[in-house]
């Protein structure tokens, strides 16, 4: 490696990326990238640090009209603490709090977690159920993509070499009924793990039925994805104790077209599939308890 750039502004960083294109990689916290560099996975000519830069002036999360805007360059610890994120994206906050360790969360960023696009990245299922869009900035402009389109394969994204992921935009959903905003990460110990699988859910229980239903699973396919057909099967259903039993046949019929887990050090394929199914089962049970007033929702 020949050079490490420390640009003083976002414009300067984008100019460097535009000038050097494929020879330079952006680095934020470095907690994923530094490892990959040392393993020889990449050999860029230079790194451009964005660690001190911010894309949003007044804090890592703020509401603009009907959109929650997240600064992808802010350290995860700051996003986790941001009131707007905690209010409007609790499933994302829960997920970020499971990434790495405190030391890692002090420097790691959403830009890194999203743009590295590990199939097991914890931020991705929550961002998918939130319907997030990715804003990619380059010198002289930017473009916005739905997150699902941004993720093109394991470790692959639509980011061009001269682009930087700077913000994430989440359309706010009007609150109706009781909200469930949950995230679950599965692994062999309770801290600092790469997930065997992870699942995020955003549900609304309105008059005892499921209104909004969004489910996403990670670690079980080339990219984390929404579970559309299962969402459809759940939509409108009464949130009672037998909810999962009622949708189990449709779920089992749909699941293998949606997820394609592989067997690796974090678990066998059948196991990862079972985790996702049990997670859906658990979410249904939770919805029933919330509908029955036995448990609080994750209301703002």
């Amino acid at each position: 490696m020949e050079r490490f750039w420390n640009p003083a502004s976002l414009d300067e960083a984008l100019a460097i990326l535009a000038g050097e294109r494929d020879a330079v990689m952006p680095v934020a916290g470095g907690t994923d990238l530094v490892l990959r560099l040392r393993q020889g996975r990449y050999a860029p000519r230079a790194l451009v640090s964005v660690r001190h830069l911010r894309a949003v002036d007044d804090g890592p999360a703020r509401v603009e009209g009907a959109t929650l805007v997240l600064d992808a360059l802010a350290p995860l610890v700051d996003v986790i603490a941001a009131p707007a994120a905690r209010t409007h994206a609790p499933e994302l906050v829960a997920a970020l709090a499971t990434i790495g360790s405190p030391a890692i969360r002090n420097v790691a960023t959403l830009a890194g977690n999203v743009a590295n696009a590990s199939p097991a990245a914890d931020s991705l299922p929550p961002l998918l159920v939130l319907g997030a869009e990715v804003v990619l900035s380059r010198r002289g402009g930017s473009r916005t993509l739905p997150l699902g389109s941004f993720l093109t394969g394991p470790g692959r994204t639509a980011r061009a070499a001269d682009e930087l992921l700077t913000t994430l935009r989440v359309p706010l959903v009007p609150a109706t009924g009781r909200r469930i905003a949950a995230f679950r990460k599965f692994g062999k110990r309770r801290a600092n793990i790469i997930a065997s699988a992870n699942v995020a859910a955003r549900l609304q229980v309105v008059d005892g039925r499921l209104g909004l239903v969004r489910l996403a699973a990670g670690g079980v396919a080339a990219t984390p994805r929404r579970l559309g057909p299962i969402e459809a099967a759940l939509h409108g259903q009464p949130a009672t104790a037998d909810l999962f039993a009622r949708v189990e046949p449709a779920t089992l019929a749909a699941i293998d077209a949606l997820i394609h887990p592989i067997s690796d050090v974090r678990g066998g394929a059948t196991f990862k599939r079972a985790l996702v199914l049990h997670a859906i089962e658990a979410i249904c049970a939770r919805a029933a308890r919330v509908a029955a007033g036995e448990e609080a929702g994750d209301d703002a």
């Binding site: 050079r3 490490f4 420390n6 907690t31 405190p102 030391a103 002090n106």
Partner: protein, 160 residues
Amino acid sequence: MTHDLLRFTVNGREVAVDAAPDARLLDVLRESLGLTGVKEGCGEGECGACAVLLDGRLVNSCLLPAWSAAGGDVVTIEAGSTRRDLADIEAALAETGGVQCGFCSPGFVLAIAALLDANPTPTPAEVKEALSGNLCRCTGYHPILATVERLVRERTGGVA
């Protein structure tokens, strides 16, 4: 290709080091600056033995590019000779059975310092969470958790 010297502050002292673009902060601290209290346990950011404070926040120096710390304020375990808060944590750890082989200890001292700076009265759950990125293979963690309990008691004058 020539480059400038990497400048930052370490333990209150300004330093200027000749660092390769791909050097890790850990390498600069141990090899260029002789701060061997910062340990390499895994090189993957999993064990926390390399932890330092960067601009007041706990970071794993094995994963941070050295040049990313340019202009920053780094605190290593060696600051214990001048900083009372770190010296108190070291003493408490040593006295409460929190040190056996000692290789993880510097990382834990800094993690505890970072915790108590941000949260002077953590609950037991918050303590475990804050220390979850520091691995210890000898003590089974209980004596270290007891150390934090003792420090909190001391700092709050017995009212925890």
